[in-house]
Amino acid sequence: MTTCTQLSDLMPATALGRREWTPPEVQHLADCADCRAEWDVVRASARLGAGEDWKAEPAVLARLALAQAAHRRPDAVRYRRWLVGGVAAAAAVVLLVLFVPRKPRVSGSTTLIPSTVANTLAIPALDSLSEDELRVVLAAVSGSAFDVDAELDAPGLESLDSVGLEQVLTTMEGT
C-alpha cells in the first residue's frame, strides 16, 4: 500500500520524467486530495521556466566569465571588502556609543539625543555591505545576540536528531 510519504518522495523524479506513476500510486493520487495538491505544486514547479529560450551563447558567456574572473584579484577584493566592513562596523559602534543613552538623565547639563532619534540615524555605508559584512556589524553591535536568519530559515533544524525532525514534520503537517 502506498503512503503519502512514499508518494511525496517520488514526486520530483516523476515530475521530471525520470519515472512514471505505477497503478497503485495513481490510485492513491485519485483518493488523496492532499497528495493531489502536492503533486500539482511539484509538477508545476518542475516546469517553471522550462518553455523559455534562455538566449546565450555558452562560448561567449564562458569567455566573458573567465575574463572577468581573471581580471579581478579575489584576495585583494576580499581584503578590501572586509576592510570596508570593519570600518563600517567601527563607525556603527562609535555612533551607537555617542548617541544611544544607557540611562535617561533627569538632571545635569548634558543634552542627550532621544533613543528614538538615534535609532533612525542613517548609516549609508551599510548599504554597500554584503550579508557577511553586515553580520560583522551586527555582531559588533549586538555581541552576536541574535542571528538575522534565525527567524526566516530556522537553522536550528540542523541540530535536531531524526526523532526531533520527525516531530517537527508531524507538527508541520498537522497529523
Binding site: 511525496s8 520530483p12 523524479a13 515530475a15 521530471l16 525520470r18 492532499d34 495538491a37 502536492e38 500539482d40 505544486v41 511539484v42 508545476a44 514547479s45 518542475a46 516546469r47 517553471l48 521556466g49 522550462a50 518553455g51 523559455e52 529560450d53 534562455w54 538566449k55 546565450a56 551563447e57 555558452p58 562560448a59 558567456l61 564562458a62 569567455r63 566573458l64 566569465a65 573567465l66 572577468q68 574572473a69 579581478r72 579575489p74 554584503s130 550579508e131 536568519d149 526566516l152 530559515d153 530556522a154 537553522p155 533544524l157 540542523e158 535536531l160 536528531d161 531524526s162 525532525l165 517537527v168 514534520l169 508541520m172 503537517e173
Partner: protein, 185 residues
C-alpha cells in the same frame, strides 16, 4: 540559440574533469560547463523570482563567481547544486542592490503554448502565482525546494550543497510544499 543546443561535445565530460580543465584555464571546458548547466541555472534564477530580462546577466555573474572560486568546489556536492547556491547568492545581492524592484514585475509575460486558450491562461496564471510564492519563501526553503523539484536532487545531495543536514532539508522541503499548496489551492 539556447544553452542546450549551442554546444554539443562528442562525449559528455564529467563535472570533475571539466572543473579540473577549467582551473587549468581551458576555455573549451568552461564553455562545456556553461552549456551543461547554464539553462538549469537560468531556470533556477527565474523560478526564484528573478526578472526575465535580468536572468542572463545573473547567469553570467553566477559563472563568473563560480570560475573565480572553482578551487572551493569539493566535489562532494554535485556541481549543479553548488552552482545553484552561487546563483542564489547572486540573486540575493542583485535584489539588495536593486531594492527588489526588478523582481517579479506585474507585467511579466511568458509565451503561451498552443492549445486551449482558457486552460493556458489558467496554467500561466498558476505558474506565475507559484513563481511569486517560491520567491517569497524563506531562503533555505526556496533553495531546498527548487533543488529537489527542478533538479530532482536527493536530500543528502541538497544538504551537502547547502551546508545543512538531510533531515533538515526534508523539513524545509515540506515546509515549502505546505506554503505553496496553500497558495495555489
Amino acid at each position: 540559440m539556447s544553452f542546450v543546443t549551442a554546444h554539443r561535445a562528442a562525449e559528455p565530460s564529467s563535472d570533475s574533469d571539466l572543473v579540473r580543465e577549467c582551473r587549468a584555464g581551458n576555455e573549451q571546458a568552461a564553455t562545456e560547463l556553461v552549456a551543461q548547466h547554464g539553462s538549469a541555472i537560468a531556470r533556477f534564477l527565474y523560478s526564484s523570482g528573478a526578472d526575465r530580462s535580468d536572468v542572463e546577466d545573473l547567469v553570467q555573474e553566477t559563472f563568473f563567481r563560480a570560475f573565480r572560486n572553482l578551487a572551493s568546489w569539493r566535489g562532494g556536492a554535485g556541481l549543479r547544486g553548488w552552482l545553484c547556491t552561487i546563483a542564489a547568492n547572486v540573486l540575493r545581492d542583485a535584489a539588495r542592490r536593486g531594492g527588489r524592484r526588478r523582481m517579479l514585475p506585474l507585467d511579466d509575460h511568458e509565451v503561451p503554448a498552443p492549445g486551449n486558450p482558457v486552460t493556458e491562461l489558467v496554467m500561466r496564471d498558476t505558474a506565475e502565482q507559484l513563481r511569486r510564492g517560491i520567491a517569497q519563501l524563506p531562503r533555505l526553503q526556496r533553495e531546498v525546494f527548487l533543488l529537489r523539484a527542478q533538479e530532482g536532487l536527493e536530500y543528502t545531495a541538497i544538504a551537502t550543497a547547502l551546508g545543512t543536514t538531510a533531515g533538515a532539508a526534508r523539513v524545509h522541503y515540506h515546509g515549502a510544499v505546505r506554503r505553496l499548496k496553500a497558495l495555489i489551492a
